[in-house]
C-alpha cells in the first residue's frame, strides 16, 4: 500500500495536483483513503475471524448479540462515516467551480477528434493546446456542435462534459507552471483514444508574451521554400479546411493553423510535432489516425510536401 501511494505521488496523477480544484479533490481523496483503509482492514478482519472462529478446537458457542452487532456495524458506524463524507462533499463542492472576478475566459470546443481553443475578446484561435497564466482564475466554456466530449486534465481539475446545445463551465486556478496533459473522457467515436489536450501554464510575463505574439499581425513567409509551401497550401484542398489568419485560408473543418509551428503535437497528441512526422501526416493522415476528416495527399510530390512542412513550421 505504501509503495503504491509513493508511486502515485511521483508520476502525474490526480494526487499530484497543480490546480485549485485538483488540489481540493486530492485532499478529499486522502481523507477517504484513510477511512477506506481502516474500514477494509477492520471488516475484512471480522470476516476472516468469523470464518475460522467456530472451527477452532474446543470453540465455545459465541455470545455475540446479533441485533446489536448488525446495528452497530451495519447502521451506526456507516452513518458516522457517511456523515463525515457528506460534510466533506458539501465543503469541497462549495469551493469549486464558482465564478471568480478577473477570471480569464477561454472557449474550448470539442471536435471530432481534437479541441478548438479560442480566447474571447481577442483574435487568438488555436487547437489542442491551452496557454494559461499561473495563479489567475480561469473560466473554460466547454461546447460541442457534434457529439459529447469530456474535458479532463487530471492534474488541474475534474471532468466537465462538452454537450451539444448546453455550454458548460469549468472554473479553477492553475497553481504551478508546466505542461499538463489531458484527454477526452467521454467516448466520442472512432478516435476517442487520440484526443489529447495540453494545458501550458506559464508565468504571467510569459503568457503576456505569448498572447502578444499571437495577436501580432502576420508577416509574409520567412523563406522562399515556405513561400512556395504557402502557395501550394492555398492552391490545394488545405485552405478549404484550415484557417491561417491573415491569408485567404479560412476553412473551419480542421484546426486553425495560424500558430501551428509553435505546437507540441500533431493530430491532438498523436505525434510529436517535427518535420518528419508532419510530412507523414500530410501524405496520409487517415493511415495514422483512422477516421480523421483529413484526407490523404498521395499525389503531392516529396518536394511539395517539404515546402508545405516548411511553411507550416514557419507559422508561429
Amino acid at each position: 500500500m505504501t509503495a503504491g501511494t509513493a508511486f502515485l505521488t511521483t508520476v502525474a496523477s490526480i494526487v499530484t495536483p497543480k490546480g485549485s480544484e485538483a488540489d481540493r479533490i486530492a485532499g478529499a481523496w486522502w481523507l477517504m483513503f484513510g477511512l477506506a483503509a481502516i474500514v477494509y482492514v477492520v471488516v475484512a478482519g471480522l470476516i476472516v475471524y468469523a470464518t475460522v472462529r467456530g472451527r477452532r478446537r474446543g470453540a465455545r458457542p459465541s455470545g455475540l448479540r446479533e441485533d446489536a452487532f448488525i446495528w452497530i456495524g451495519g447502521v451506526a458506524a456507516p452513518v458516522v462515516i457517511l456523515f463525515v463524507l457528506a460534510v466533506v462533499t458539501v465543503h469541497t463542492t462549495e469551493a469549486l467551480r464558482r465564478p471568480a472576478r478577473g477570471a480569464l475566459a477561454v472557449d474550448v470546443a470539442g471536435e471530432d477528434w481534437w479541441w478548438a481553443v479560442r480566447y474571447p475578446g481577442t483574435d487568438i484561435v488555436t487547437a489542442n493546446e491551452i496557454h494559461l497564466p499561473v495563479d489567475r482564475p480561469v473560466d473554460l466554456r466547454l461546447t460541442s456542435d457534434n457529439v459529447i466530449h469530456s474535458f479532463w486534465v487530471p492534474e488541474l481539475a475534474g471532468k466537465q462534459d462538452a454537450i451539444p446545445g448546453q455550454p458548460n463551465h469549468l472554473r479553477f486556478t492553475p497553481e504551478a507552471t508546466g505542461t499538463f496533459i489531458g484527454r477526452c473522457a467521454e467516448y466520442c467515436g472512432l478516435q476517442h483514444a487520440h484526443m489529447e489536450i495540453r494545458v501550458i501554464v506559464q508565468t504571467a510575463t510569459d503568457f503576456g508574451r505569448w498572447q502578444a505574439r499571437q495577436e501580432a499581425t502576420r508577416t509574409e513567409p520567412v523563406s522562399d521554400v515556405a513561400a512556395a509551401g504557402a502557395a501550394i497550401f492555398q492552391r490545394q484542398a488545405c485552405a478549404g479546411c484550415h484557417t491561417v489568419r491573415g491569408t485567404s485560408a479560412t476553412g473551419t473543418v480542421g484546426p486553425d493553423l495560424t500558430d501551428f509551428g509553435g505546437r507540441e503535437t500533431i493530430g491532438a497528441g498523436l505525434l510529436e510535432n517535427n518535420s518528419r512526422n508532419l510530412a507523414d501526416w500530410i501524405r496520409d493522415a487517415p493511415e495514422l489516425k483512422p477516421g480523421t476528416a483529413m484526407p490523404s495527399f498521395h499525389d503531392l510530390t516529396d518536394r511539395d510536401v517539404q515546402t508545405i512542412v516548411a511553411y507550416l513550421e514557419s507559422l508561429q
Binding site: A28, A36, V43, A44, G73, P164, Q166, H192, P290
Partner: protein, 648 residues
Amino acid sequence: MAITERRPPATDARPDELEHALEERWEDAPGIPGFFNSVDHKRVGMRYIYTAFIFFFVAGALALVMRVQLAAPNADVLSPQTYNEFFTVHGTAMIFLFNTPVLAGFGNYLIPLMIGSRDMAFPRLNAFSYWIFVLSGLFFFASFAIGHPPDGGWFAYVPLTSKPYSGDVNIDFWGLAVIFVGISTTVGAVNFIVTIFKLRAPGMTLHRMPIFVWSMLVFAFMVIFAVPAVTVAASLLELDRLFGTSFYDVASGGSALLYQHLFWFWGHPEVYILFIPATGMISTIIPVFSRRRLAGYVWVVTALVAIGFISFGVWVHHMFATGIPPLSLSFFSAVSLIITIPSGVQFFAWIATMWKGVVRFSVPMLFAIGFLLIFLLGGITGVMVSVLPFDWQVTDSYFVVAHFHYVLNGAVVFPIFGALYYWLPKMTGRMLDERLGRISFWTMFVGFNVAFFPMHILGFLGMPRRVYTYDSGVGWSGLNLVISVASFAFGLGTLLTLVNFAMSHRRGAPAPDNPWDADTLEWSTSSPPPEYNFATTPVVSSLHPLWDEHPVPDAASGPDDARDDARRALGVAGALDKEMPVTEGLDALPQDTLGIPAPTYLPFLAALGVTAIFVGLLAEAVVVGVAGAVVGITAVVVWLWRTDEDLR
C-alpha cells in the same frame, strides 16, 4: 439424508404405480417437439442458465481479445472500429444477455421448488419469456454475421448514436435488441411476482419465505419499474433513427441529456436488480455452510426492500459531469451515500451468521467468502464515487472500470458461480468435483483481483475508459500488461468450472436429495426433482422447514380451514390432475387451484412473431414486420382463447 425423507403420499395406490401414473401425466414429449413445447419451469430455468452462460463465455472472450490489444502500447491487434464494437458488445451482452437472464433462470428453476409449488403461475408465459430472451440474443449477435456490430458503447449515448454520427445499422441492432429483450425481462418479472404471492405452500407466510425468494420478489418489482425507462430511451432513439423524429436532436429542439436521464433511471436500479438476487444467493449459502440460521432475517429483508426503493433515487450520479447545477447534484450525492447503509446491514448479518456458526469451506462457501472480500472493496469505491467532486476526477476513467467490475463481476458473478456449485447437484442430479471447484475458485479470485485492482491506479494516472490504445510514454504500459495477463487467469478459472460441469455429467457422484444439509424446500424432493416437483404439497410451519421438522409434513396433515378444491389440489389428486394449490398472498392459506397447461408451441410461435417484427424494423422490411405481428398476435389470441381445461 434422514431429515429429507418424505412420507409416502396418502393414497391407496402402490407407490411405484403412483409414480408411474404421475410421470405419464407430466412427461414432456421426447426429442425435438418436447424441446420446443415444454413449459416446465425447471427445463425453462436450466435453459435460461445454460443460454446465459453461452453469452457469458462469448462476451468474456471479447474482453480477453481487448486485453490483448491493451497489453502493449500502440498495439495493432484490433482496429479502432473493432475495438469499439467489442467493448460495446461485451458490456451489452454481459448486462442484458448474461447477468439479468442468468438470475431469472435461477429464479425460474428455484422459486417454485423453494415455495413448494408445482410450477410458475404462468408456465406458458415463462416459456415465452425464455424464447424472447434467446431470440433477442441471437438477433443482437447476428450483427456480427452481417459485419455491423453495435459500436456506441453499452450506454449508447446520443448524439454519437444518432443517425448523423452512426449512419449504419450497428446502433439499430443495439436499440432494437434492448427493447426486444426488455419484453422477456418484464413478463418474467410479472410471473415471479404472481408466483411468489399466490403459489406459496400452505403455512409459508411472508416471514417464512426463503431469503432468495425475497430477493427475487424485489428484483421483479424493480424490473417492472425500471425497464420501461430503458425501453423508452431505446424506443425514442430508434424513432429518431428509423422515422426521423428528433427527441434527442438538439438542432431541432430535442435534448441530448434526456437520453441520459432515461437510460440511467433504468441503469442504476439495474445494478441493484443484478446485485439483489446475488445477495439473496449469498444469504442462502452462508447460513447453510455455517450450519446455522441467517442472523437478522428481518434486517436483511428490510435491507433488500430499502435498496429496491433507494436505488431509484441515485441515477444522476452517473451524470455528475454533465453540468447539472451543484445543488441538485448534492442531493444525488447524498442519496448515493445513504444506499450504503442497507448494504452494510446485510454485510454484518452475514458476518454475524458465520461468527455464530461453524463454517465449512465447501466450494459454494469459498465463492461466498470471495464475494465478501471483493464486494467490500467495490462497496467502498462505490461510496467514493458518490462523493461528487471525487467523481468528477474518476468518472469515465479506469477507476470506474475497476469499481463496476468489482461490483458487477466480483459481487454478482462470484455469487452466481457459488450458486452453480450449490444448486447444480439439485438440477442435474450430479455432484461437481470439489477439488476442481477449489482450483477454479482460487484461479478466479486471484486472477480477478490482479486484473481489476490495478485499474483503480490507471484511473488515477488519467487513463480514460474506452480507449483502444495508448502511447508508450504515458506510464500505463506496465500495469496494463499485468492486467492483461491476470485477465486470462480469471478467464481460465471460469473455464475450469465449465470443465467441472461437463465432467460431472459423465462421472459426477450422484447427488443425494440434500447434499449440503440445507434448510429450504427444494432439498426435500429428489435430485433432480420429478416433473411435478412435489407429489403432495409440503406444509410449512417454519422459516427453515428441513431443519425444524423431520420430515416436513405434507398436505395429508394440512390445515383444516382449506377450501375443498384447494385441499384436493394439495395432495396427490392435484398432482394427478396437473393442478397447483393457490394460497392467500400474505398468510399462505389454501384458497383455490390453478391448472398447469399442457406442453404447447404457442409461446415459441408468439416469440417468433415478435422476432419477425424486430427483424422487419431493422431491415425496414414492412412485409416481414407485418407478417411477424400477424403470427405473434394470432398465437397470443389462441393461447388466451384456450382455457387451462382445454390444455390439460
